[in-house]
């Protein structure tokens, strides 16, 4: 009941409907109307930019950083050096970035973890207020997967029934760190269904996917872009889409509403930021470069390969701030409900 109350109060604040409204293909791209070239203000940038990436080069964040850096360079001719500073679930990269000069030459790539970290501890930077979002370039949703050749259960309903029969012995591979999006969503699902399922935390993708492929766990919680190769090869199949409506690419997979689950979904999103104190004309140029680069063919192809076009991935500065603010509010309410020490 509490969950219902909670979801009702935050429902209006979420961007779920907005997100789904952009489900159309990217033939007409969000920033097509922006000019193809903009004069550099006072010669800025006169040298290469540095993009601080708080994760390693091979993961989802590393890949989006590379794709966006390439697209900006193709568009503007300005080189971007990527400086990967992994560790501490993004904290190390954020700390390193905050120590760089506010001159516009350093930009930060970050994901929704920065928002949830601020929600739990307000002394951590608020990406919407302590930084200026240049663009949000990836927004995606979550799904639950099983092996395609699984015989013990074949769809969401039979999976729920099977898990309940295991009396807490069933397992799901996850990134179930304290306060993570995955753990929060799993709490919503287990509360709503009455399932008891053991979450096995894998912080790296390959062992996580291998655990399902090898039968070490019974299910997997993940975003579709990260397991696309397993979906395309027929190894995995989704049994639940954690969205209120079914995206066209997963028309046969039940959504939250189909499964009778009434809560607001949380999203994984990635974007690019710059210091708050950067001169306004430099911020304006960077906003143009990163937002326009979003619609470069190379970046759109990249997003499409990652299933990042199933819901609208683009947010400009104002849209990113709204998305982040809503997300922080959502997480904070959930954390309080979960009894976590919200500072």
């Amino acid at each position: 009941m509490k969950l219902r109350n909670f979801t009702a109060t935050v429902a209006a604040a979420t961007a779920a409907v907005m997100l789904l409204s952009g489900a159309a293909a990217h033939a007409a791209c969000a920033t097509d109307d922006l000019p193809g070239a903009v004069n550099r203000p006072g010669g800025f940038p006169a040298r290469a930019l540095t993009m601080v990436v708080p994760y390693g080069p091979a993961g989802g964040s590393g890949q989006v950083a590379q794709a966006m850096a390439q697209a900006v360079t193709d568009l503007t001719g300005v080189a971007i050096n990527r400086d990967h500073k992994p560790g501490g679930s993004g904290t190390v990269g954020m700390t390193a970035y905050m120590a760089t000069p506010a001159d516009g030459y350093s930009v930060l790539e970050h994901i929704d973890d920065a928002s949830s970290a601020h929600a739990l501890d307000s002394s951590r930077p608020n990406p919407a207020q302590d930084l200026i979002p240049l663009v949000t370039s990836q927004i995606t949703f979550n799904q639950i997967y099983i092996r395609a050749n699984e015989t013990r259960y074949t769809d969401w309903d039979s999976f729920v029934a099977w898990v309940k029969a295991q009396n807490g012995k069933a397992t799901i591979a996850n990134v179930s760190k304290e306060g993570s999006m995955e753990r929060v969503l799993m709490k919503f699902i287990t509360d709503a269904t009455g399932m008891k399922i053991q979450q096995i935390s894998f912080d790296k993708g390959a062992p996580r996917y291998g655990s399902l492929a090898g039968g070490q766990v019974d299910a997997l919680f993940e975003q579709p872009g990260d397991v696309r190769k397993f979906l395309d090869s027929g190894l995995f199949k989704p049994i639940l889409t954690i969205l209120k409506e079914r995206p066209s690419a997963f028309a046969a997979t039940p959504s939250l509403l189909d499964a009778g689950l009434d809560f607001e979904p949380l999203y994984r999103f990635r974007g690019f930021f710059v210091h708050k104190g950067v001169p306004a004309e430099r911020v304006a140029w960077l906003q143009w470069a990163f937002q326009k680069a979003y619609c470069e063919d190379s970046y759109q192809d990249f997003n499409e390969s990652k299933y990042m076009t199933l819901i609208e991935s683009f947010r400009d500065t104002a849209g990113s701030r709204e998305l982040i603010a809503n997300t922080i509010g959502q997480y904070r309410a959930v954390y309080q409900q979960m009894g976590l020490d919200v500072k």
């Binding site: 890949q63 992994p86 996917y209 291998g210």
Partner: protein, 502 residues
């Protein structure tokens, strides 16, 4: 027979394409050079090249990375042997005996053993990879989950306690020190901060590469500087004598054992060549009748380590190609190369791009084979670095090590960690503790903690769950037997060998 004809087809396709040959040679030489230079690694080269692979064909791009992987793993052995600076973590155990061999005037033998055994391990690994990629990958991921990997780590730690320390207690204290360092930072399962002292950079934990550079390279420079100051410094003797065939044949058991170990570790997602090298070395120590000779310049140590780490290269391609599961950082970057060409590694690659797969397989085989020739020529030249006077070489090594420590994650804390490890290592090595044990505790501790927590979650926090998993049970029993045997040797059979090698 079909495998052989596919291999011939891949070989012909590789060597009949001039651009392919150029890419192959570039990868072989680049991998060796970047692997050999401390401070950079094959990962550095791969990261630099990654965007450019978009301009290559898929075949050339993926082949380039696989060749760099093979030769890069070997390249780091050179500096490990000559200067006690492992070019990469998987070469760290090579330094345990390789560097003492250099000090004893047997650098040529050590480098030669590394060249030949890297080639042997890599080539055989490539052959198995060609023959049985799909079934092995499927077996590995179904048979080895977190409980089995934890049990393997426990077994490794039990063996490692006898590596390099003067006494039983010093061996275990070294391992425990490494395990303690491993818990700094966020815990790998719950994300809880530990020992960060409110310093955000410590949340990233202490990385093992700066620690290796500190314990091995920096502390060695301090030790040699002290000898120089006291006037007892002896420059390493030059030697370009390669090991004879008879010497290699005499170590055939160690080679075969390391091939199995390397291959086995390589196919486990997220484990790879580093654990392979340490496990290969540990097992060589464990099965040796002359344990005390390890760490003092025993060729078998170099052979075991270098065979195992190269045997892991072909094996690591198995989960990548068959299932799309990268085993380490370089194979993860290879996924990026696949994706740049609108491909995904996994079962469909064998169906949709069989030609590509066989060119890559052939290239990996010949890359490992080329280690023999190019490694021989390289050794004849690079070994002359030993002629450089210490006062010029030491600052250069310190500079390269500093760059190497920083290059891992771009964090200043890694440079600090390296110098702290250097100072600590300087004193520990004088007092009979094992810096190898500390490094091994650090590397295995991170893997072990994570897989232990995952195993307990999977087993619903019931220890008895291990009994129901035969492979895990066997490895745990082997670990306990090793542990009790080392206690027995230390306390009841001191005259027959003590606690292990110095």
């Amino acid at each position: 027979m079909e495998t052989f004809s596919n291999f011939i087809g891949g070989t012909v396709a590789l060597f009949s394409d001039p651009v392919g040959v150029l890419v192959f040679l570039g990868g072989v030489i680049g991998g060796m050079l970047f692997g050999a230079i401390p401070g950079v690694s094959m990962l550095t080269l791969a990261a630099i090249l990654l965007p450019f692979t978009a301009h290559l064909s898929a075949e050339h791009g993926i082949m380039l990375f696989s060749v760099i992987y093979c030769t890069g793993v070997y390249g780091g052995a050179i500096t490990a042997i000559l200067f006690n600076i492992p070019g990469a973590p998987e070469n760290a155990p090579t330094a345990f005996d390789g560097y003492p061999m250099t000090q004893n005037g047997r650098a040529g033998k050590a480098v030669g053993a590394a060249v030949m055994c890297s080639a042997i391990g890599g080539c055989l690994s490539a052959v198995v990879m060609m023959a049985a990629t799909a079934p092995i990958a499927a077996w590995a991921i179904s048979a080895f989950g977190p409980p089995e990997i934890f049990a393997l780590v426990f077994f490794g730690l039990a063996v490692a306690a006898s590596v390099g320390a003067k006494t039983f207690w010093k061996g275990w204290l070294s391992i425990l020190a490494g395990l303690t360092i491993a818990v700094v930072g966020l815990d790998p399962v719950g994300g809880i901060a530990r020992y960060d002292f409110n310093m955000p950079y410590l949340l990233a934990g202490i990385h093992f590469i700066p620690t290796i550079l500190g314990f091995f390279a920096v502390s060695e420079i301090f030790i040699q500087a002290e000898k120089k100051a006291r006037g007892v410094y002896r420059a390493p003797k030059m030697s370009v004598d390669f090991p004879t065939l008879a010497e290699l044949v005499a170590h055939k058991i160690a080679i075969i054992r390391s091939i199995f170990i390397g291959f086995f570790c390589g196919i486990l997602p997220g484990i790879g060549a580093t654990l392979a090298a340490f496990m290969g070395y540990n097992e060589a120590v464990r099965w040796s009748r002359n344990r005390r000779e390890f760490g003092r310049g025993k060729m078998e140590g170099v052979i075991a380590s270098e065979t195992a780490n190269n045997a892991a290269t072909g094996a690591a391609m198995i989960p990548l190609l068959a299932l799309g599961l990268p085993g380490g950082a370089l194979t993860a970057m290879m996924v990026g190369v696949f994706q740049m060409h609108d491909m995904e590694p996994g079962p469909l690659v064998f169906l949709n791009s069989a030609d590509l797969v066989w060119v890559v397989f052939a290239a990996m085989f010949f890359a490992n084979l080329s280690i023999l020739l190019i490694g021989y020529l390289e050794t004849r030249t690079i070994i002359n670095l030993l002629r450089v006077p210490f006062q010029f070489l030491a600052p250069l090594i310190l500079l390269l090590a500093t760059v190497g420590a920083y290059a891992v994650r771009g964090l200043t804390v890694d440079i600090i960690a390296m110098f702290v490890a250097g100072v600590v290592g300087f004193f520990l090595r004088r007092s009979g503790y094992s810096v190898a044990g500390i490094v091994l505790g650090l590397i295995l501790g991170k893997i072990g903690e994570q897989t232990f927590a995952q195993a307990m979650q999977m087993l619903h926090f019931e220890w008895s769950g291990f009994i129901g998993r035969p492979i895990a049970l066997v490895l745990l029993i082997a670990g306990f037997i090793t542990l009790f045997a080392s206690i027995y040797r230390a306390f009841f059979k001191k005259s027959a060998g003590g606690a292990g090698p110095a």
